[in-house]
Amino acid sequence: MSDDALFEFLCRMGDNTLVLGHRVSEWCGHAPVLEEDIALANTALDLIGQTQMWLGLAGEIEGKGRSADDLAMRRDVWDFRNILLVEQPNGDFGQTMMRQFLFDLWHLEMLKALSGSSHDRVAAIAAKSVKEVQYHVERSGDTVIGLGDGTSESHRRMQAALDLLWPYVGEMFVPDHIDAQMSEAGIAPDPGELRATYDARLAEVMTEATLTIPDSGFAHKGGKSGMRHSEHLGHMLTQMQWLQRAYPDATW
């Protein structure tokens, strides 16, 4: 296992939480009710906190003196390694919560597996994050059920959100050469192994939410390899990175 592969893997973990954390933070001050506004802000802050740990470690492993901030604010689209799901726009509140649940469910299983990583620092970050994510998935799952099995309007929107986001689920489970090196070294699980638990739990929640999982295995890919991000990521980065782009090295 090379340090390059570990760096790639850590960027994947950190970029997922960074991009989703920023997306969720876009709701701050705009959520439909005050309670959800605060809950979403808490989730965003949890994810940004996890980002600091993942990208901080990534910078150390890389050994070129780059900090978590450097990695977050000074890379362009093609250097990002997040999955395509998390960069998708918020849409309406239902679409945001559906995206959150589809990610949280994977994130929890991933972190549980990483808690037993052969790499001590990876295991420690995962163990700290897993409690936060346990709560995220409970909350997003309950909201998906509440809105899916709600009014005809909320049901329609949640089904539309699931149909829209479903093609982005598969990427989380497709292994590549980085994943192979990680699982060989006992650092991370083969992502394919997480699929059975994910599908079982997903089916339970969607049944309770009276939503239909699309009958399609098609999966967009190109996010975690960085080969083909969707157009949305670049737009998001122009906002997120604006300050460091306009005023490099600006500090508080």
Binding site: V33, E35, I38, A39, Y135, D142
Partner: protein
Amino acid sequence: MSSPNSAYPDTPETQTRPKRHEWPLWEVFIRGQHGMSHRHVGSLHAPDEEMAIKNARDVYTRRNEGVSIWVVEARHIAASSPSEKGPLYEPSESKVYRHPTFFDIPDEVGAM
């Protein structure tokens, strides 16, 4: 300000809109540490009791304030009426002997 429809008394003045269904109001009680009692910290809206606890967690315990949360729907709380405060509370004002301040408490007992 005159109503736009005042020339047409048979026309309802406002269009009938579907009633906005607010989530019920919940009162939140948090226990700060083991051994203390739950204290009222505020209120919030939520569709059901499970979401009320989750919302309370997010709104009231984000700075590590609590180890236990109670929620109760506000409509279930029976409260005394402010207009009755004379008969309810004034009679006890003149009964200072109900305060246990006439005993010497040994220093060893500490704070009571």
